[in-house]
């Protein structure tokens, strides 16, 4: 908005260049502000290392974790669970969503149950599943599956129902079989919704995983920060949180966004994934 008010006296192209530079750099600003406030708080309040460690400590903690191999082990453990749980959730969710989306009778019958189990999906199952599965990978995978499944399932079902009937009729009138319409119409047509579901689902799944690892695992990023809390190592906790955030962003940017770009955006179907986060 304020781009239009060009200060007089400065050449226009220079302003444009500055604007572009600012546009490029501006995402870093909030991070820098937080860092500055953090440093400032350290100077003014002189908090104990346990309450608010200096920035240097956190950097050192990350370095220490990385060099000792602890970081790699825990990240690997967390990602392994996430991958397994999400894949299961994706596959079962898409299949379930197709069955329900294609059959109104089944959809209407199952809807109340789905709504209810969606309401308790994820972390709510932790106490029951600890008793049934014990602490470990199975527990975390179950919680992630449970979280991802419902989101993908509901989005897929919705997407399948919303695929325009006329596309299907078009392919049928070309002589396409039921299977052909499923493959070339319903699946790509529902893809924007499936991808939205996957993105949202991974977001929820990642949270569920960290929560599950706080108490229900012997390794992983959640366990790492929870153990650190016992020794009041806030530097490790903060380091852990930063790593958790970075991984989450990286997954979205480098895994899901490219898929979306190559499919849905290329086809001119805009997913509302951007909005929903």
């Amino acid at each position: 908005m304020s781009v239009l008010t060009v200060p007089t006296g400065r050449p226009r192209h220079k302003v444009r260049l500055l604007n572009r530079l600012a546009w490029f750099l501006v995402p870093a600003a909030p991070f820098l502000i937080v860092l500055a406030l953090w440093a400032l708080a350290g100077e003014i309040f002189k908090p104990s290392r346990q309450t608010l460690p200096p920035i240097g400590d956190v950097v050192a903690a990350i370095y220490e974790l990385a060099v000792s191999g602890q970081l790699a082990t825990n990240v690997a453990a967390s990602l392994y669970r996430l991958l397994l749980g999400s894949l299961l959730g994706l596959v079962t969710g898409v299949i379930g969503g197709f069955i329900v989306g294609l059959n109104r009778k089944i959809a209407e019958t199952l809807n109340p149950v789905v709504v209810f189990f969606n309401a308790i999906s994820g972390i709510v199952w932790l106490p029951l599943m600890i008793t049934w599965l014990g602490i470990g990978t199975a527990l975390a995978v179950f919680l992630i599956w449970n979280t991802v499944f419902f989101i993908v399932f509901q989005n897929t079902a919705l997407g399948v129902q919303l695929v325009s009937e006329v596309y299907e009729q078009g392919v049928r009138s070309l002589g396409g079989s039921r299977w052909e319409t499923l493959r070339s119409v319903t699946l790509p047509g529902a893809l924007p919704y499936i991808l939205t579901g996957m993105r949202t689902g991974l977001g929820f799944g990642w949270r569920a995983l960290i929560a599950a690892e706080l108490v229900g695992a012997a390794s992983g990023l959640g366990t790492m920060i929870f153990d650190a809390a016992e020794f009041h190592r806030s530097d490790i906790i903060i380091a852990g949180c930063l790593i958790i955030g970075t991984i989450s962003i990286a997954m979205d940017r480098w895994l899901l966004l490219p898929i979306e770009r190559r499919t849905v955006q290329r086809w001119g179907l805009v997913a509302d994934a951007e909005k929903e986060r």
Binding site: V26, Q50, V100, E108, P112, R207, I237, I244, D252, R277
Partner: protein, 277 residues
């Protein structure tokens, strides 16, 4: 979510005998309850056939009795009110603080760009990951839980308010300004209603994340609340309490969603024909 799709059969509806409407409504109630009855029957059969220990699985009747007992002793009310109070305060604060921030940021494209990345990062570090640090700061108290839930709720609210504010067509503002509207009028007549659908999306998503963060935080903080109820029951092996608590959590969440969030959505989005893509 609605799993049922509207059928677009052309033709004017013909009048319907009024007795039918009542019968249809009763049929609907049966339809909703039916799948649950099937599930309970399966659960009953498994429990009866498997001869499980009480620490693994109990009968639906035991769970029902336990819930009744918890209600009649006033225990459940206490746990529920603790949870509801925290989610209520957290929603209130998140809306009151988050919406203005969202607008302020949405008004400027540099600010919006700068905060977008930061908010995504914050969302990636799930609230629960900060729990160990917040426990160091505030101890095992309600303040800790509240802080975590606010953190979880406020991010999607700010983010979606920002998106909503930026999506309002400029003509709306220009049209009102040309009618002589002042700043306050613009806020009440253009910005708020224009961004409301998006804000509601944020609130719904935030409630989804926030409710789970609340349950997870309560499990770890152990100062009352439904998360404490089911996690505490785990340590003493009371499966009946765990399952009963899960059912209460699901029902409560649906109640909040259906009684509070959905009516707002219906009032705004459906009424104005502003459809989410």
């Amino acid at each position: 979510m609605s799993l049922a799709s509207a059928s677009g059969a052309p033709g004017r509806p013909v009048g319907l005998p009024s007795g039918w409407a009542v019968a249809a409504r009763q049929l609907r109630a049966v339809k909703i309850l039916f799948p649950f009855l099937v599930l309970i029957a399966i659960w009953w059969a498994i429990d009866a056939a498997g001869n499980f220990s009480d620490r693994v699985l109990v009968s639906p009747k035991r769970v029902f009795d336990t819930v009744i007992m918890l209600i009649s002793h006033g225990v459940l009310a206490e746990y529920v009110s603790t949870s509801l109070k925290i989610i209520g305060i957290a929603s209130f604060i998140s809306i009151v603080v988050g919406v203005p921030i969202g607008f302020a940021v949405g008004a400027n494209r540099y600010a919006a760009r700068s905060l977008e990345g930061f908010l995504r990062f914050l969302q990636g570090v799930s609230g629960i990951a900060w729990l160990p640090l917040v426990i160091i700061w505030f101890g095992f108290t309600h303040t800790t839980t509240l802080a975590i839930v606010i953190y979880t709720l406020i991010v999607p609210i700010i983010f979606n308010t920002m998106v909503g504010a930026r999506a309002i067509p400029e003509q709306y503002e220009l049209a009102l300004r040309s009618l002589g509207a002042g700043r306050l009028r613009l806020i009440t007549d253009v910005y708020l209603p224009g961004a409301l659908p998006s804000i509601v999306v944020g609130l719904r998503l935030g409630m989804g994340y926030g409710w789970r963060a609340l349950i997870a935080a309560e499990m770890l903080v152990r100062q009352g609340g439904l998360g404490d109820l089911i996690f505490g029951a785990r340590t003493s092996g009371q499966i009946d309490r765990i399952i009963g608590g899960m059912i209460v959590i699901g029902a409560l969440y649906l109640l909040i969603d259906r009684l509070l969030v959905q009516p707002i959505e219906n009032l705004t989005i459906a009424r104005w024909g502003v459809l989410r893509k």
